[in-house]
């Protein structure tokens, strides 16, 4: 059987978090919740005689992304008309960029599962306007133009991606960068960030570019990964059966977890691009570009490297903490509140994320949990000071996650303070050893793993509050004392 490799490129559309639209002064609102057609004006409604004017902030946001993605910013920039007739844009064209995009030839570094890294090329990033939204109801379509004209940055990768996992890693890294820059919330479920992979497969070692399909309707990065994996397998199965892949736009059916053909492309699109006559060209001032570059915030890779260098975190832990800006912010707030960097990282990645997973809460949403970063820092400090043990800390995280509140007060109210008193622990150890003569004998005969069982029994006797080190020492000493 032939081995196949996928060839994947990703086209990403990111709405920019400006106050007003790309070419008019209408406010940018949450188009999933705003009343339809309440932020529209003659410009975005395409009434006769209007003139678009470029939103400077949108260009600046685009520059930030381009520079963060290591792109060149060409001296000359121009908008173009992309002509097509569809009610989602009443002008009959979309103002976009074609021959002269804002940013070109960049790259993004992704982390691979084997610990290595790989650069994925960024072909271009260009500015355009978003389209309105259509709802189809009984023989008609309803058109809401609130979203029409919202600034949109299209970011196109090179076809450097070779697996669904790499596509996922690229998507996560790109989303994190957009969040760190503060230009996009990263919320794919609201459609403000849309990712469309185009996929083909070919025999390993071959250079040909085969027919590709494009997948739309992906409302999460998880869906992107699953849909890509599914589509790769579907295409391989077709070739293996002696069939061919048809060029098409596929949709991802979330319920059935399959890709389905939405539209077969019989001919290439004919958008008849030409320079936008209503907008003067851009010749961006180098001083402005350098000022934007100098003002870029710390980006995920740099933050990861700093967390590793300053706090001795593992690359894995640091990568997990920087993957979402909200998580990185939470972590750094906990450190600012005096939490030990490694301990905070351990409890956050282990126990807090576990609670969030159980609740089905996205990591982006960590800012809203009841367990505050300050409380987590306090908890970690209580463990370090020996006021509570690790097991109690884990229990407390569950409680604080569900109810909020202060760790110190909970420890006091519930009597969870760590028991370190040698005589109390010594007594508990002696009792447990008396009650388990068989296990003691087997341990003394060489079955050393039984110490864990005995340790558990002592901890239970101490209601989980024992100082683990003291318990361990006492247990070892008393067991040795029973050796005849």
């Amino acid at each position: 059987m032939v081995a196949y490799e996928p060839v994947i490129g990703l086209e990403v559309h990111a709405e920019l978090l400006t106050e007003s639209k790309m070419f008019c002064t209408c406010a940018v609102v949450d188009s999933t919740s705003a009343e339809p057609n309440t932020v529209v004006c003659p410009v975005c409604l395409a009434m006769p005689g209007v003139l678009p004017v470029i939103n400077r902030k949108a260009v600046e946001f685009g520059l930030m992304v381009g520079l963060a993605l290591n792109c060149e910013i060409p001296a000359f920039n121009q908008f173009a008309r992309k002509s097509y007739f569809y009610p989602d844009l009443p002008k009959g064209y979309q103002i976009s960029q074609y021959e002269y995009p804002l940013a070109i030839n960049g790259w993004l570094e992704i982390d691979l599962p084997d610990g290595s890294t790989k650069r994925i090329g960024i072909r271009r990033a260009h500015l355009e306007e978003d389209t309105g939204k259509l709802t189809h109801v009984d023989g008609h379509s309803l058109v809401d133009l609130n979203r029409a004209g919202v600034p949109l940055l299209e970011i196109v990768s090179e076809a450097d991606i070779r697996s669904a996992e790499e596509a996922e890693a690229y998507a996560r890294k790109l989303r994190a960068i957009l969040q760190y820059l503060g230009v996009n919330s990263g919320d794919m479920s609201k459609g403000v960030l849309r990712m469309e992979p185009n996929i083909s497969v070919r025999p390993v070692g071959s250079d040909d570019l085969r027919t590709r399909t494009e997948i739309k309707n992906l409302n999460s990065i998880r869906s992107l990964a699953r849909a890509s994996a599914y589509e790769i397998e579907r295409q391989i199965a077709l070739y293996e059966a002696g069939e061919s892949v048809q060029q098409a736009t596929m949709g991802w059916d979330e319920a059935r977890q399959v890709t389905v053909t939405q539209r077969v492309k019989e001919s290439s699109e004919d958008y008849r691009y030409f320079p936008e006559p209503d907008l003067p060209v851009l010749e961006l001032d180098r001083a402005w570009i350098e000022a934007v570059r100098a003002g870029l915030p710390e980006l995920p890779d740099a933050k990861r490297d700093r967390l590793m260098a300053e706090h001795g975190l593992s690359r894995y832990d640091a990568s997990v903490l920087v993957a979402q800006r909200a998580v990185a912010d939470y972590y750094e707030q906990a450190l600012a509140a005096g939490g030990d960097p490694k301990q905070v990282a351990n409890y956050l990645i282990g126990d807090v994320f576990r609670q969030m997973n159980l609740e089905g809460r996205e990591r982006d949403d960590i800012g809203a949990i009841l367990l505050t970063p300050q409380a987590l820092a306090e908890l970690v400090t209580l463990v370090r000071q020996g006021a509570i043990n690790h097991g109690v800390a884990k229990q407390l995280i569950e409680t604080l996650y569900a109810e909020g509140g202060s760790p110190a007060r909970l420890v006091e109210q519930r009597g969870l303070a760590q028991v370190s008193d040698e005589s109390v622990i010594g007594e508990a150890v002696a009792t447990v050893l008396d009650e388990h003569p068989d296990e003691v004998a087997r341990y003394l005969a060489g079955e050393e793993k039984l110490i864990k069982f005995l340790m558990g029994m002592v901890m239970r006797a101490l209601k989980g509050k024992g100082d683990a080190q003291v318990v361990q020492r006492q247990l070892a000493a008393q067991l040795e004392a029973r050796r005849k």
């Binding site: 009610p87 709802t135 736009t249």
Partner: protein, 100 residues
């Protein structure tokens, strides 16, 4: 340059125009004439003339990112051929041809 029927049909499709056979023949001739007229420009020697991206003497025209009040919805929908639920209502368009 000669424009054939197939090209006229393709352009008509892109422009969402429904043309009769007579019209296709008529426009094929007219479009050919127009292209020939414009094509005369190709005879000029433009080697020494820099490319012109825009005839406007303007560069870098921006506006600040400040939102202003939009139109009242009634006014926005006032000239719509049809509307419902605060939205423009059009004939069903199910082919998802829209682009992002």
């Amino acid at each position: 340059m000669k424009i054939d029927r197939a090209t006229v049909e393709h352009i008509a499709e892109l422009a969402k125009l429904d043309l009769t056979d007579d019209e296709i023949a008529l426009y094929a001739g007219q479009l050919s004439d127009i292209l020939d007229a414009v094509g005369q420009l190709e005879q000029l020697d433009t080697g020494a003339i820099p490319p012109t991206a825009s005839v406007l003497p303007l560069r870098n025209v921006f506006r600040p990112d400040r939102a202003q009040p939009s139109l009242p919805r009634d006014a926005a929908l006032a000239n719509a051929a049809d509307s419902a639920e605060g939205q423009f209502r059009v004939d069903a368009v199910l082919d998802d041809a829209g682009e992002g």
